[in-house]
Chain length 243, copies 2
Amino acid sequence: MDGERPRARTARERARAEIMGEIVATARRHLATEGAAGLSLRAVARELGMVSSAVYRYVASRDDLLTLLILDGYNALGEVAERAEAAVPRADLVGRWLAVCHAVRDWALAHPHEYALLFGTPVPGYAAPPDTVPAATRVTAVLATLLTDAVAADPALARRFADEVPGPVARSLLPVRPFVAHQVPDELVLRGLMAWTYLFGAVSFELFGHRHGVVDDDPVLRAAFFTAEATRIGDMTGVTGRS
Amino acid sequence: MDGERPRARTARERARAEIMGEIVATARRHLATEGAAGLSLRAVARELGMVSSAVYRYVASRDDLLTLLILDGYNALGEVAERAEAAVPRADLVGRWLAVCHAVRDWALAHPHEYALLFGTPVPGYAAPPDTVPAATRVTAVLATLLTDAVAADPALARRFADEVPGPVARSLLPVRPFVAHQVPDELVLRGLMAWTYLFGAVSFELFGHRHGVVDDDPVLRAAFFTAEATRIGDMTGVTGRS
DNA sequence: TGTACATCAGTGAACGCGCGTTCACTGATGTAC
DNA sequence: TGTACATCAGTGAACGCGCGTTCACTGATGTAC
């Protein structure tokens, strides 16, 4: 049988885990200051006082390190979103939606390069391996639950959006349908995806500088603007205080 | 007096303009295949059969070349958007909005790296000079006109969105207010900005791979999905066929 | 508890690569008289 | 129209940099008997 060996970790194992952690932590710090393009195995090794080739005992390649950082990033983002959402009373659907929105935005503003690694230009020549998917979908999963809860809480909602969507649109939604309760009509799934799209679109626009000269730069006003947009997008999905 | 000299261009001037064009064109092709990070002055020079230092007669630095490409990109995008919108009868506001949306998306799908240069992760250490602004705002200008026309065509629209927005939100909009007719109420300006945000958010999400496993990959279904989302966003601004 | 062997972390040197930018130069093109 | 000088495109060599990855190695840690 595998896995039934909680046998005391050897010094080697402990050392390995620790150094692995230091490598990722250092890489993440470099990412935060230089951006993904400037991330180099040699620089990480240098900072840890090892020779560059030593890093290859821990990480197969630069791409491998990138994957670790991406995983790390998705998990960090997913966690803040989950926590923020969990802190709001279940019945307050708008509150839960806004909590997720602000959690995502706050995390992005605090970790711009990590956010850019996840949602900016894909790194050329790099393809994220499939095992990043669970981490990548944490925020989406929260939003899907929100949608299901909204329909469960208010039967009128499903009826309000019961109109069939055009055939091709319905078909385009097939991959995501398994992840949303069947009580949620297609029109509402579509609007949920739109809310998700909008959230990251707005955060990216702000972070990547496309609101310079459009929305005031003052952080307080920016936050007010963001709340306003998030609220209106919430309305669009029917997740709104006033029914 | 300046400018009153349409004097025959010398051979030097003609040669200069031509080579300048070749440099930008080559750089753009490299951008299209390698992405912005892989763009190098040396590679461009090599392909043009010049020695790398010769490029410096035309371009002050790598950043300078990047700026030219950015300008180029914004202008190309602006042009397709303007043309597409201009081809729709003035009274068909939804049609005009959807035309802009599809023009932007089609251009982005056809020129993914150029799009990424404009709307993806900012190049680290690079700041776009102010003279890119006019080119960068061409799409936005089209949308602003659309909004103004919508309000002019349907007085009920301004009334429908006449509710005051919260003070900080109104203040956050001050930078953009001069570019929108004063008949357009703040609430509608906000929603216009949201439509703009959504358009690029959706295109970026699609282009950067965030819809894998969510929306079907088939191009026809993708287009149907896009039309559906764009239509609903149009609704949100009140620019809708059924009033 | 002790020895013999296997595992594995880390070293140091090297390979081969490409980059941006500078500089003194040659030779062709343009301009003023 | 012809000559003398100024402008400027393009050359070729060089500087100094950092990168990812491989490889044969040493020496410490772990394991089997």
